[in-house]
């Protein structure tokens, strides 16, 4: 049982086919211990002697052994995989948001020992998620965006898989992470109102987007707070085509608005372009603010006032909350992230 025999065993190991990966059996055999000992040495769980633990770990390090994740998953009934569901969109604002967010998720997932599936979905088709769930490939999911009466959220609830959403949802059972869209837009509007502008137009995108809903509510709240009446003729929240939006910009000018608040930078981009075409100067003739600070407007001649949300950070937080949830920790029902109002020339 001395050094000699051990050497001999290790010798044997080096004879193995070079391409083949080592298994826990190979390690156990080479070391003359049982597989359970090797397993415990690695996991650190269970009773194991300090000396053998060292010996096993050294051998593993030396011989570049890595436990097979699949076998581990099967034995433990947990995969250490999560998935994030993102929409198959093309928009100039949505794409960067989801990409950065996904990178944030990946960052903390990696750091905490998880790998990340991404499934991009178009429309309301849940079939892409089904395999992942039915085949037990993930421990939990992040729903990257939410809609009113969200199909995906309903689906995930039905499956009983742990998940969190990025974006709010009218559902007490669902763990949600979101920016404070309402608060941010309230503050922004309040600042504009405090600067003598009272006829502030709101240019939304869709009533079905909960984020638009939240921002619009903030806009209303700010008006209520100072007792200024909102002129509903300056509010546009239907599902808007670019053409429709451009025509509404003209309406807004005709109706003598002081300011325009845009629901996001995509909308703002078009608004700014139409204002240029109409010959309206910013900020001399009209003030413009956007509700999302992306890079989209960076090279616009006039710097644009907007709300700053950290897109990567929301991904990090969402992932962190999900992993806490998976690991049995208590998590808040809602996590609301901070924002910043960035005042620039467009509202001078």
């Amino acid at each position: 049982m001395g050094q000699g025999e051990q050497m001999l065993e290790e010798e044997k190991r080096s004879e193995r086919a070079p391409g083949k990966k080592l298994t826990i059996n190979d390690v156990a055999e080479a070391l003359g211990v049982s597989v359970s000992t090797v397993s415990r040495a690695i996991s650190g769980k269970g009773r194991i002697g300090e000396a053998t633990r060292r010996r096993v770990l050294a051998f593993i390090e030396e011989n570049d052994y890595h436990p097979n994740g699949i076998a581990k998953s099967l034995a433990q009934s947990r995969t250490n995989n999560i998935a994030i569901i993102v929409p198959d969109v093309k928009g100039i604002v949505a794409v960067p948001f989801f990409y950065l967010c996904m990178c944030g998720v990946n960052e903390v997932a990696q750091a905490r020992g998880y790998d990340m599936f991404v499934v991009s979905t178009s429309g309301k088709d849940t079939s892409h998620l089904e395999r992942l769930i039915n085949e037990n490939k993930v421990d939990g999911m992040i729903l990257g965006s939410t809609y009113k009466d969200d199909v995906f959220a309903a689906f995930l609830k039905g499956k009983g898989l742990p998940f969190v959403t990025i974006g709010e949802l009218n559902d007490e059972d669902v763990v949600q992470i979101d920016h404070d869209n309402e608060g941010a837009c309230r503050d922004l509007t309040a600042i504009l109102l405090s600067r003598r502008w009272k006829r502030i137009a709101y240019m939304g995108a869709s009533k079905n987007l909960l984020v638009d809903e939240a921002r619009y509510n903030g806009y209303l709240q700010a008006h209520r707070d100072v007792g200024v009446q909102v002129d509903k003729n300056l509010v546009f929240r239907e599902e808007l085509s670019e053409t429709a939006m451009r025509s509404h910009v003209k309406d807004i000018l005709d109706r003598g608005a002081d300011c325009i608040i845009c629901q996001d930078d995509g909308v703002c981009n078009i608004v700014l372009d139409e204002l240029r075409i109409q010959g309206a100067r910013i900020p001399e003739d009209i003030r413009v603010a956007s509700c999302h600070n992306s890079k989209v407007l960076d090279n616009y001649p006039v710097s644009v006032t907007s709300l700053r949300f950290d897109n990567t950070e929301i991904g990090r937080v969402a992932c962190s909350v999900l992993l806490d949830l998976l690991e049995g920790k208590e998590v808040p029902h809602k996590t609301i992230l901070d924002y910043e109002v960035v005042l620039k020339e467009s509202t001078k």
Copy 2:
């Protein structure tokens, strides 16, 4: 062995805990057959009677049974998972490219029964890939971008995992998918040269980007083709900060260039902005073209000539090639995708 007993068995099944997922054992037991029969019924491989196959399939359908993917992976030594490696970037052009590309990959992966991991990497750190590979979680990988002497490609080669790259690589062993950047930029340049412009500036981004290399080569080739000398004072290909780029735009104007070809829309965006500041009119004073048609320049007052590449399509193709490779089919060493030169007002 009659109907009666079978009914009884199925009865028993319905007593099981409702939350628990069915296993192949449950199915076999309920049906009074062996698990191997169930397995063969599902896979369609091996010898199995038509009648039993039907019976098993019907039961499975009825009771919403789904084979456990993890167990399957372990038994078959293949996961039906792939991964795509994307850089952890923030750029206004790169982000949409990788997002759309990723969606393309996901699309065909899903269609062919695979799930997609995404790992975003910063710098040259391969550690994020290692777990995925070492733990046998994927069958193959797509490297989303390539650099000169690519660390990731080298790493993947070392690991012996099947992979393909999006972007070219000077390596005969690696399966590559790319747009025809050189051809596209050659065509674009040729068109400009044919329109009496002879002093065409080239604004690159980095010599380390193979894509810049290819486009620049096309630019040179077009000049050679018609025997026009390139003025190297109009070529800028160093790693450029925004400030440096803006100053080079002034140089370009001073040196009397006819045209500027930008390596991508990010560069172009800045170039256009600086031209505006300098008071140069487009296309009256100078012509501008970009080598990548993203949405970034969509709302620029003057529509911009550029090359159109299909970002989603390259993802689809890359995935398709990878899966062919994994499934043992013969795949081409290089797959070059088509492009389109889109002429707009900026080069009128």
